[in-house]
């Protein structure tokens, strides 16, 4: 089976990195049980590098996995789209992982596809997904505008994941200084205000009672499985206040009150830090509109305090070789709620 150019270069790079002992593990994707749903792969031996794949379904955010390697001093390589890169920058800025222990394998991302949306767009009958999606995964080079499936032309935009429609960061932040580019950087993306915040605005247009009912209904559905927090790459605290059984900030019972407490707390904790990768919503088993809540905060932060800046780790690869390199790379990066301006708007008199 032919593999696309990015996969080819990814396998070669991974093989080289592992063979030369530069990294202990390469975090990327491999084919999973279902076509259209590649799963994260942790490649430790050069001969396993051929398991790695890169296709239009590699949507999961891999940044969080680096936190599993906090203890130790070896290097790890991570395949990074724009959102993985932004999350890595946040993790580095939060001093949770040093930049010089990372090898960032950057890929320009034109937006990732969702298997269900592709199947819908192509009118695939139930049970005929696997073969068709396998064909897309193998054939659609990342970056292709569209493809033909089930005899129908499917545009790439029709199959995009919702968070990819809203994407403003198809490439890793420049401040992260990627070590290797596996593809060309993707062209910039400029979603419309409606694509970015249309659903937030729709809720804002409701009366406060209607909004209350909407969120009460949503939060009552929450099972408090913590999948949204566990999958969130910027939820990188070593200890989470929501796990603290001693203080009992969050009770164990699953009811509306505790669920509200959980979601409001989490929303405030990711405010100004959320990278918009949409993993929370994808992981949620009961379909809570979580990114609406977080985008409301991103929107208001931008409105109040100006554009939410990408954290810029102070040092890059340059400092890694320096004698004091161990301390560098843990440079702290502030975010909207940990800094202020004297002339911030003031609505409180």
């Amino acid at each position: 089976m032919t593999v696309n150019a990015v996969t080819e270069k990814l396998r070669q790079t991974a093989r080289d990195l592992l063979q030369s002992g530069q990294v202990g593990v390469v975090i990327g994707f491999e084919d999973g049980r279902f076509p259209g749903q590649p799963r994260p792969a942790f490649i430790r031996r050069a001969e396993d590098a051929d398991r790695l794949v890169w296709n239009a379904f590699c949507g999961a955010n891999l940044a969080k996995y680096v936190l599993d390697y906090r203890v130790g001093d070896g290097k790890i390589a991570v395949v990074a789209k724009g959102c993985d890169g932004a999350a890595l920058a946040r993790i580095i800025g939060d001093q949770q992982f040093p930049r010089q222990r990372l090898v960032v394998l950057a890929v320009g991302c034109p937006g990732m596809l969702d298997a269900g949306r592709v199947a819908d767009a192509a009118g695939l009958p139930d049970g005929a997904w696997d073969a068709a999606l396998a064909q897309v995964a193998a054939a659609a080079e990342p970056g292709a505008d569209g493809f033909e499936l089930n005899g129908k032309p499917v545009s790439r935009s029709a199959g995009l994941r919702p968070q990819c429609v809203r994407c403003r960061q198809p490439n890793v932040p420049a401040a992260l200084e990627p070590d290797v580019w596996l593809s060309e950087p993707a062209p910039e993306r400029h979603p419309s205000p409606d694509q970015l915040y249309g659903d937030v605005a729709a809720l804002e247009a409701m009366s406060v009672e209607e909004r209350g009912r909407f969120w009460e209904e949503a939060f009552s559905r929450c099972l408090r499985c913590f999948a949204c927090r566990n999958v969130c790459p910027v939820c990188d605290c070593r200890e989470c206040v929501l796990d603290d059984a001693q203080t009992r900030w969050l009770g164990k019972a699953v009811n509306l009150a505790e669920n509200q407490f959980f979601h409001l707390t989490r929303a405030m904790h990711v405010a100004g830090r959320c990278v918009g990768c949409g993993q929370c919503e994808e992981a949620c088993p009961v379909g809570l509109p979580l990114t609406v809540l977080y985008r409301k905060l991103s929107h208001d932060l931008e409105e109040l305090f100006g554009p939410v800046e990408m954290p810029a780790p102070q040092e890059g690869k340059a400092a890694a070789g320096a004698a004091e390199g161990a301390a560098a790379g843990l440079e702290k990066a502030e975010w909207a709620l940990t800094r202020f301006r004297l002339n911030d708007p003031d609505e409180f008199d």
Binding site: V208, W215, A253, A257, K296, L304, F348
Partner: protein, 183 residues
């Protein structure tokens, strides 16, 4: 007996033991409405306001209001914090869920913080959090932040009066309810 019951009187406390705090308050509120004027009125609903006051300005402002013999509604419960920057948004949610109908965060005027910059963080945090509360359905007017200095006793009394009136008009808090009342 909860702080809520202490505020509203023993009759509500009895109802609360049977019905749970929020239901007892809802019934008390309904009973206090004009439509129920003819019926034997149980203890009328009284709003409960929780005020987080910074030690250096707003708490001193409250002190000055007291020593100046300025009256303000007894619905306010003051919680002293070292700095308004100490107030975590979680405190606000917990206050509402513990029975508060309104919450106030009061601190030094920007520029006057005892710790130089604490209240600038407060300002950012609660500009955002207030919008979040309104977004999930908490009426504007339940959550307030105010700058009250140690020399502003009259302002302290006035702010407490205004907020109590506003929350009284809104009625009992229904959105962020007590965990014991919610299934």
């Amino acid at each position: 007996m909860s702080i809520r019951a202490a505020a509203a009187g023993s009759q509500t406390a009895e109802a609360e033991e049977v019905l749970g705090p929020a239901e007892a308050r809802r019934q008390a509120h309904q009973a206090s409405q004009p439509a129920a004027a003819g019926a034997p009125a149980p203890q009328a609903w009284e709003p409960l306001i929780v005020a987080f006051c910074c030690n250096w300005c707003s708490y001193a402002g409250a002190d000055l209001a007291g020593t100046s013999r300025l009256g303000y509604p007894p619905n306010v419960r003051v919680i002293r914090v070292p700095c308004s920057g100490r107030v975590n948004p979680l405190f606000i949610v917990k206050a509402f869920q513990s029975g508060a109908d309104g919450v106030l965060v009061a601190g030094c005027h920007p520029g006057d913080c005892h710790y130089s910059t604490g209240n600038y963080f407060t300002r950012r945090r609660f500009l955002l959090f207030r919008r979040l509360l309104e977004f999930i359905g908490v009426e504007p007017g339940r959550f307030h932040a105010r700058w009250i200095s140690g020399s502003e006793g009259p302002k302290f009394a006035q702010v407490m009066t205004e907020i109590t009136q506003e929350v009284r008009r809104l009625g009992p808090n229904r959105m962020l309810r007590d965990a014991r009342d919610v299934q």
